[in-house]
Symmetry: C2
Subunit: 107 residues, 2 copies
DNA sequence: TTGATATTCAACCATTTGGTTGACGTTCCG
DNA sequence: CGGAACGTCAACCAAATGGTTGAATATCAA
């Protein structure tokens, strides 16, 4: 029942996780290096990365001891489309956007 | 410390709240009418509207007995900008986007 | 005034979330 | 081999979240 948008938005709701995404925007990083600037345990960052990965926002690949974390911007696309629809209320494609939204309506 | 993006994204993380926003996209509505299609108490919907309102995604104006709920698409703009940055990683304005992100990086 | 409608408040509950610490399994290096 | 680095797991904790019910507060209408 957990929608992909649920996972995406709740992953984005935490400032630590958004900061991680911003760091990964510049480069792929090891878990330890992701954790370095934060005043928080490595285990906590590891958990945040699990959340980001299970939302598809980040992929992780283990090479040797090191687990490399990579930003996956495609996963943001659906959520971005969702949001842009609200910003463009007066645009011509409102019907298509509402059809997309209708998938989420109850009943 | 609670960033505006925190509030926006965590408000959007709930499917009931996203559905409410979709309903309000079509028209302003009273709280009771917002609640009608959901299999959930009115009090629960009232709480969801408080969350949406405190994130600035919805405004509420009481006229008589009825509290009218109105979509506020502007509040989505900052979050939308944030997300679009990730989708446009190869765009020229990457520097400006990173400057914006830098506000969220830890000290 | 009496009663129905609209909405919130308060108390409560179960579950999830975001963090900690310490032990653990891997992998590299000397 | 022995130790250090990388990362996760497990148990625990406090606080937040999402829901319930029942009482309370306004407002309209007869």
């Amino acid at each position: 029942m957990t929608d992909a948008l649920d996972a995406t938005f709740s992953a984005l709701a935490d400032p630590t996780r958004r900061a991680i995404l911003a760091m990964l925007l510049e480069d792929d990083m090891a878990v330890t290096d992701v954790a370095e600037p934060f005043e928080m345990s490595l285990a906590a960052i590891s958990k945040h990365l699990v959340v980001l990965a299970s939302a598809g926002l980040v992929s992780q690949e283990k090479r040797g001891r090191v687990k490399w974390c990579k930003l996956e911007p495609d996963a943001l696309r659906a959520a971005s489309v969702w949001m842009q629809g609200f910003g463009q209320m007066d645009a011509v494609d409102l019907d298509a956007f509402e059809a997309f939204l209708a998938q989420e309506l109850p009943g």
